[in-house]
Symmetry: C2
């Protein structure tokens, strides 16, 4: 693991007033996204976020506020973040240092930036955000052993965890075109559904619509077709992390998924949070890789790296909240359904990346890897409704008296992520939300 630097120093504060203690976005975070002001006909451009403010990086670069290097390379901040992602980890670290200095409450650079802040600082409520990169390919993994065991127990009670699980990071290709940014309504899909395992099916609205709480990892530089990314180099090819909701129609999935995996059950929408917390920002919040049991296999050499084993995990806690239409109408806050830890994932992000490229598959800047549903070993840490209600057999009762087996129209699902460690300023991933609307709404 590379050294922590002064950008992580807990004593540092920003001159941006909304950067108050407890915010997801203090000076120590500095996530990256893409924004434009609402209704101005503007082009999309790169931004950071601090407190309740959005920082226009293109304007800062053009104004010389990020240093000469970025003034020359202001093109990196035009449009989606793919070019910045492809510029590599040295550029990402340089940007973090420059931005941290400019937003620092002390020092002449920060004072100068503060004076010129009308040029680049916007209220978060005045801007719109998009999916931060053009995602060329989206891959979803299955890295939570508790989730895999839970699902396996339902579908294959005699054989919950398949023999390959502890050896090979299981993943599949998802749909890139239907990735949407937090806040986008999600239409309930129609599909072929059946209750009996052998059919016949009916075609109609999914009655078992679910969410899956995941992290998303954006690829940085990547690799050429036919080349690989060795496990020791994998960290340098990870740009950052977002929240990800892999909406799933369980009744469609159960009928269609054999033998080639999920397809229409999942490709109608995937929601991501707008702010990417960079790999640099996560440095204080690294954790050991999953503690395997003595009977579990050691990772094969192409997936084994001592540094990754020691610090390749992520100490991110992930919560799921639900707000029904009734809760919304009555002004009630969302209710928390679960809380899980990314450090419970069986595979580290670096292992997922190294595995993905191990056959020569080319990963490109802006490609997105989902962790798979993050569930822990306890019931309170189950990251999907199918797990929380055990396939609908144990409905949830909400504070309003409403019950849920699966999602109903009008339900809003909110994911939140948070990193905390003694001696460091906590940072957050913001919110990833989506509301279910009816088939014909």
């Amino acid at each position: 693991m590379r050294e922590l630097d002064h950008t992580h120093d807990p004593g540092r504060r920003s001159w941006v007033e909304s950067s108050v203690p407890g915010t997801d976005f203090p000076l120590q975070n500095l996530p990256l996204g893409v924004f434009r002001r609402v209704g101005q006909g503007e082009e999309w451009r790169a931004a950071s976020r601090i407190g309740e403010s959005v920082v226009d990086l293109l304007a800062m670069a053009r104004g010389g506020l990020l240093g000469n290097w970025f003034t020359r390379r202001a093109d990196l901040f035009v449009g989606p973040l793919n070019r910045l992602m492809g510029a590599g980890p040295t550029v990402a670290s340089r940007l973090r240092r420059s931005l941290s200095e400019a937003l620092d409450a002390t020092g002449s650079v920060g004072r100068d930036a503060r004076r010129r802040s009308p040029v680049f600082l916007h209220e978060a409520s005045d801007v719109e955000l998009r999916v931060p990169a053009d995602v060329g390919d989206y891959t979803d993994f299955y890295a939570s052993i508790s989730h895999a065991t839970n699902l396996g127990s339902m579908f294959r009670p005699d054989n919950p965890l398949l023999p390959n699980y502890k050896w090979v990071p299981i993943g599949y290709h998802g749909r890139a075109s239907s990735i949407v940014v937090s806040g986008t309504d999600v239409r309930r899909p129609r599909g072929q559904v059946t209750v009996a395992p052998d059919g016949p099916p009916r075609f109609g609205p999914s009655e078992r619509l679910d969410y899956e709480a995941e992290l998303g990892f954006f690829v940085g530089r990547g690799n050429a077709l036919g080349e690989t990314i060795p496990i020791a180099a994998a960290q340098d090819n990870l740009f950052g992390v977002c929240l990800l909701n892999d909406w799933s129609a369980r009744d469609v999935q159960a009928w269609e998924y054999q033998p080639l995996g999920p397809f229409l059950a999942k490709n109608f929408a995937t929601t991501v949070s707008p702010w990417i917390v960079t790999w640099d920002a996560l440095r204080p919040f690294r954790a050991p890789a999953y503690a395997r049991g003595t009977a579990d296999p050691t990772p094969l050499p192409y997936l084994y790296d001592e540094d990754d084993q020691a610090t390749g995990g992520l100490a991110i806690s992930l919560t799921v909240e639900l707000r029904t239409a009734r809760m919304h109408a009555e002004g009630l806050p969302p209710v928390q359904l679960s809380r899980a830890r990314a450090s419970d994932l069986y595979w580290t992000p670096a292992q997922l990346l190294a595995h993905h490229a191990s056959n020569g598959c080319n990963l490109q800047p802006g490609d997105l890897l989902g962790s798979g549903t993050i569930s822990g070993p306890t019931k309170e840490s189950r990251g999907s409704l199918i797990e929380l209600t055990w396939r609908g057999a144990e409905p949830l009762t909400l504070p309003t008296g409403e019950t849920r087996r699966f999602l109903e129209d009008g339900d809003e699902v909110l994911l939140r992520g948070r990193c905390e460690r003694d001696g460091f300023v906590a940072i957050g991933l913001g919110t990833c939300s989506g509301r279910v609307i009816g088939c014909d709404d």
Copy 2:
């Protein structure tokens, strides 16, 4: 089905001299691709192909040789074909008529074009070709019931064809980044492979590398997220067809594919032919949909259209040829391994498209749908080595005396496609070739 028009008239001939009887690319074909001249530092641009000549559509449009409409919209011919695909079927038909007239041996338009042909006509050997569109998402189906039955018999002898097969078009998302154009070498992948179903695996070169002979369907206009493409409108959203080789590492696949489907076994390379035969060009070569047995279910209403049932299939024959390194060194021609018919597919291309969008998944111009391996009911029509050698148990003996269970380094696989019907000029899809190179070559 729309009417045939004069562009299909068998009496028409082109002034392009290499457009000789028997060519894959007579005046009645006019496929579309993207080219640039070798070593000239040129931009990629749209082309057609006739005989041994490549037709620069951008130059024709700018020169007024395709009519005023295309002169104004010459931008449609810059770069990959996505914009042209998104312009819809009326524009595609208009282009076919204009181009057919310009290349016709009779008439003043053809005479004028012939005189000015140095501006837009190139020898095929002087140009390079690329994947004709930027493929946003690539989906591979499993539409051959014979292939599904063959594979099922090997992996689940007691249950070869799963209960869902005859109801739901099975498909999965593939990898867009590793789609390469015909002629690109394919590096043998490494991966986790195992002989025993329960492991443990070893990591190393795949020893069961295979091809899969498929057709690829390019999406035209597509649909917005949350909308659908009704089956009756599906034809108008299909732009054209190419040949597709879905390279597969069978030993990796067997170990990794449960429960989420194929991943690294297939995403290291997918080869497509450079010329897209348009939906218009295929009109004379339509066939009835698969003749279901009396015990088979009728397609559900969202997959049923009378016109599609009558003429939604494709009378395309697909052959696979193999040329080993030894055959190449000795100047021997490739040997034919199989010949299958696309009309044996259980689902029509329109059904695949309508199903894909039935849940609101957005399809975009240039998206690619693979048919899945096309096999027929006879041994001679099996479209992959795993089927031809029955998982390696029945090796093939080649004319050189060499044997093959799976592909070896230096083997070149060539797919060819051909459409023939009495009373019409036959057209072809050209060649889709790729040579296997070693892991470290």
